[in-house]
Every structure is written in structure tokens, then in C-alpha cells.
């Protein structure tokens, strides 16, 4: 199920077409708009922390927006998404509920989880996240079992990072998902760094082989280009819906921001070089200057509205 028009996208609350897609606009524009939406939302969070309006911590996905946007293009109401600590992009691409998330992160009762869950523990129709590494994979596998028992074409999608490959619970779930041929789609976002530790110091062997060893169909893409990821996502989801067994999508990407807040010790030249692969720039160049500027302006005003409304709650 490819969301060719905005009306095919999942129903949202707090819907604002300026953020999730204006009816009638081209798909390329929608993809750009949604990435820009996630980017500006998260950049705003960092600013709100500095203003003392937010409590606790947050894990931004700046640089990885294309993953969330591309995958969600291929999901519908029958599907379920489980996400992790770095879940804002996934949540926003899935639900569009910017106000609900902003209020949640601000700790307000109007937040999607009443301010209890906060940044990492979100729940909305067809979406959940939890902050413990690895444990969500068996949970998503159980949801996949439920999908299989229901007999429809729904899939259970779970987002993990390269660091999560260190958790044993992940492999218990991979084994069971393959053994029972469950409609599970694991999206591994390899951003090369687990907090402050590079994958070279974390990970033996190959990521692909880990999934392949359990009998997963593995699709791999080394890109921050939303259109390339979109094409892989389409193939992966089509396959996942066949009920022939689980699928892994490995996306090699990069986190352009710190792990949480003010905690980035990575080599500055390495990070700087990766800004050349900023997904918003890569895809933004495909748009006409005028239409890109118009989308930027709309997203800007809509995000500002979200902040103003959330602050006023």
C-alpha cells in the first residue's frame, strides 16, 4: 500500500497539512515536507531546552529523517510500528501529531501520554516506543504474531539502531520471528555510533549476516537519499506482507547531531563531512527553488504554531 496521495496516509490527530502534506502536491514535495517537518521540530526542541521549557533529555534523529519518512510511506492502518529512544521522527512520520508530541515532551497533560511517557515512551494508534534497548524487538515480534493470527496483510515494523545489535533479546526475537514466519519488518538504522562508541568498537562480523543467519530476507541501502530508501522500503514491505517470513532493512545512515544533548565527542571533521549527505539537502535539490522555499516557510510557521500552542496549554 503506497501512499500516493496524502489521503492514503494514516489518519492523524493534530493534523496540519503544512507539516504532513498539502492535498494535491507531488510525492517528491511531500517527502521533502515531512523530512523538513521532523528536522525543524527537533531543532526547535533543542532551542526549547536552552530556554528551560523542557525537562529531562531527548534523542534527536537529525540526519536520519529520510528513514522514517520513506518507511511510513508504505504503511497503513493495519500495520504497527515499534520505535526506540530515538523515536520522534518515526512518531511524526507515522502520526503527524506534532502538538501531541510537543505537549508530551513539555510534560503537559495534553501530551499523547499525559506527560508520563515523555520523549521516549510514546503511544498512538499503530505506534509505540520504549526506551530500553532490544526489548522492543520481542514486543514487535508478538505484535507480528498477532497480525499473523488475524490473517490479514498487516505487518509489524520495529526500528532499531546499530547499538541494539549488542542486546541478546534481539536475537531471541529474530529466531522466533523467522521460525514462525511472522510478518515482522526490522528496520536497522546504522548511524555508525552507539552513543559515543563507534560500531567498529561494538560490532563483530557483519550486520547483514546476523539477520541472514536467522533466515531473514535482508535488504540493504547505504544512503541518506529518501527516494533510494523509499524504493527499498517498498520492496521490503511488499515482501513482508506476503507472510513468508520476516524482513530486515539495513539503512546505513549517520546521526548529524549529538546522541542526546551536548554529548558529542565524535571527530568534528567526520561530522562536518557528513553534512554533505544531509538528506534534506539531497532531496531538496530535486525541488524547484520556489516550491522548496514555500514548503520551508509553511513548515516554519506550522512548527512555530505548534510550539506556541503547546506553550500556551
Amino acid at each position: 500500500m503506497v501512499a500516493d496521495t496524502i489521503s492514503a496516509a494514516p489518519a492523524v490527530t493534530g493534523w496540519d497539512v503544512r507539516l504532513v502534506g498539502v492535498p494535491g502536491e507531488a510525492r517528491a514535495e511531500r517527502l521533502y515536507r515531512r523530512m523538513r517537518f521532523i528536522r525543524r521540530f527537533e531543532e526547535s526542541l533543542l532551542g526549547l531546552f536552552e530556554r528551560g521549557l523542557l525537562n529531562g533529555t531527548t534523542h534527536a534523529c537529525i540526519g536520519q529523517e529520510a528513514d522514517a519518512v520513506a518507511i511510513m510511506e508504505h504503511l497503513g492502518d493495519d500495520d504497527h510500528v515499534f520505535s526506540n529512544h530515538r523515536c520522534h521522527g518515526h512518531f511524526l512520520a507515522r502520526t503527524g501529531d506534532a502538538l501531541g508530541l510537543m505537549a508530551e515532551i513539555m510534560g503537559k497533560p495534553e501530551g499523547v501520554c499525559g506527560g508520563i511517557g515523555g520523549s521516549q515512551h510514546l503511544c498512538a494508534p499503530g505506534f509505540m516506543s520504549n526506551g530500553i534497548q532490544g526489548g522492543i524487538v520481542p514486543n514487535a515480534t508478538g505484535i507480528a504474531l498477532a497480525k499473523q493470527l488475524e490473517g490479514g496483510a498487516g505487518v509489524s515494523v520495529v526500528f532499531i539502531g546499530d547499538g541494539t545489535l549488542g542486546e541478546g533479546a534481539t536475537y531471541e526475537a529474530l529466531n522466533l520471528a523467522s521460525l514462525w514466519k511472522l510478518p515482522l519488518v526490522v528496520v536497522l538504522e546504522d548511524n555508525e555510533w552507539a552513543q559515543s562508541t563507534p560500531s567498529s568498537a561494538n560490532l563483530a562480523g557483519s550486520m547483514r549476516d546476523r539477520f541472514a543467519a536467522f533466515g531473514f530476507a535482508v535488504l540493504e541501502v547505504d544512503s541518506t537519499d529518501v527516494e533510494k530508501i523509499d524504493a527499498v522500503a517498498e520492496r521490503a514491505l511488499t515482501r513482508g506482507r506476503r507472510q513468508e517470513g520476516p524482513v530486515a532493512i539495513i539503512i546505513h545512515t549517520y546521526r548529524l547531531c549529538h546522541h542526546s544533548k551536548n554529548d558529542d565527542n565524535r571527530p568534528a571533521d567526520e561530522v562536518a563531512a557528513r553534512w554533505d549527505l544531509d538528506p534534506i539537502e539531497i532531496h531538496g535539490r530535486r525541488l524547484g527553488l520556489a516550491s522548496r522555499a514555500a514548503i520551508d516557510a509553511e513548515v516554519e510557521s506550522a512548527v512555530q504554531d505548534v510550539i506556541d500552542r503547546a506553550v500556551a496549554l
Binding site: 503511544c123 526489548g135 498477532a146 531471541e172
Partner: protein, 336 residues
Amino acid sequence: VIAARAIGDALRAALNEDDRVILLGEDLVDPYGGAFKVTRGLSTDFPGRVRSTPISEGAITGVSAGLALSGYRPIAEIMFGDFLTLCFDQIVNHIAKYEAMYNGKATCPVIIRTPSGGGRGYGPTHSQSLEKHFLGVPHLRVVASSLVHDPAAVLRALLAQDSPVLLIEHKLLYPLHLMLPGGGQIEGDIAEEHISADRLPTVSIRSVPREDCSFTVLAYGYQAELARRVLSRLALEEEIFGELVVPSQISPLDWEPIDASVNVTRSLLVIEESVEGFTWGSEVAARTSSRFFGELRRPVATAASDPTVIPSSKTLEAEMLMTPERVERAIRQVAA
């Protein structure tokens, strides 16, 4: 009917009554039918809904959580209570958290059954009563099977509500016959059943009116049966009268039937098989001492197993665990 069969029948009834009930666990499927044979026959009659899993306790509980979040009613079996350590993350940071941290937007009604306890010579890693580590986990119910509670009624009550449950079944209870309160009596003793707001029973047993009991014994599971035997004999042979209170849910506790007894006897002994220190008994003692400050005739007494590993040797195990002899000693001390 023996407890193992009664629990199996309760599971069968649950599978019959609700299509959303799914059983998951290691070696559940026939002809093996589970390590303690509780689920024997169920996979034959409910194919696909009673599933053997790999040796993956984290996945058994984690997949159960996913099923529960999707509206199913999973009942997971962990082959030995000792293996609950492998489920701790799923129980504490996933299953027990979801409903509360999502502000009620989801529920995760997983039931995890597990055989626990010693006395079979299985040694340090197949004999423990680890439930004490789960007591007080917010939003988690810890329930213990006892011979005086109807497993079908308890399971039905647990399936009628949405909190996750850890259900402890002491393995020495499996071959014993249930002794349900009928006509206000169990084996000739007075038996009073108190049903909590959540429809879970606490049974109080005494051979004489409460006013003539000089102490209360609080215990669950196999220890409750040991205490019942001792109390019954002491009443008959030595006219020592105590009241035994057996709750089905041990955390959080329904204090009403406990308080009702202690309010009259003004003396309490708590018995459990877990190793001593930071125990169920300590919590009950702290709360009861506070509630009845100045009214108790003696400090609340607790009895538990020695704080060490459970030896495999039959002799050494009997020295370390709460045995019938130790239960009797503890009761005689509060009766003195």
C-alpha cells in the same frame, strides 16, 4: 482433583471461553505437555493456540507482551521460576510499564505462570522462590496458587482484568489434592473466604472461633499447606489455636482479611519459602506493625529459608529450606 490437573483444567476452560487466550512456553506441546505436565493435552485440542517456543524466556515474555498489546490474552509458562531472571527486563521495563507510561492508551495483560520452590532436590538453579524480587513492582500482580483456592476462579478473575500477572505455582503442590472451602469448612476446620474487589480470594482457616485463636499465620502456596497441617495437629493434640490466612494475590495485598484476623489475635507470623532478608514477610511486618502499633501482643514474627543457595543434597536442602519442622518451630514460638 490434584492441583496440576485443576490448573490444566483452568487453562483449558480459559482457552474454551476466550479465543484471545494463547499459551506460550517451552516444551508445552504434546506428547510432552510441559515439564510438569500441566498443559498436557491442550496443544492437541487447541492447535496453534498452545505453542512450544525455543529456549528463550526473554522472547516468551516479550512476544506475550506484543500479543497482549494487540488485544490477545497470552498466558506464558516459564518452565522453572528460577528462569524468571531471564524475563526481568520484559516484566519490569516493558510489561508492567506499558499501561501506566502510555497513560492508559494501551494495556498489556500478560499472565506468566511458573513452577517454583524446592523440596525436589533440583539444586541451586531449579528450586528457588524468586517471586520476592517481583513484589512491589508497580502495576504487576503477583499471585500464588494454593490448595485452598480454585485455580479456575482465580484464572477467570485474572483474565477479567487488565494488569499483568506473575502466577507462582509451587511444584510440590502439583500432586496434592485441592481443598476448597465448601460449606464454610476445609477438612473439618472453619474456612472463611474473602473475595477482593478484583475477585481474588483470601481464605482464613481456624479450628475454633477467631476469638479463641491466639495468633495469626499468614502464608501462601506450599508453605500455607505446611502451616495448615501443623495448625490442625496442634489444635487437635495440644489445644494450641491459631488462624491461618492464605491470600491468592501476594502483591499488592488485600489487607482486609489479614487485618480482620490480626485485629482479634493481635499476633502475627508470616511464613514464606523465599530466602530471608528484604522479604514478603518483612513488608507485611512493617505495615502491620505500623497499622497495629501499640496493639500487638508481640512483635510480628517472620520465617523464611536461609539466605544461601539451595543445595542439591537432600539432607542439606532440608536444613536450608523452610521444612515442616521449621514451620512448626516458627508457629510454636508465636504460640508460646
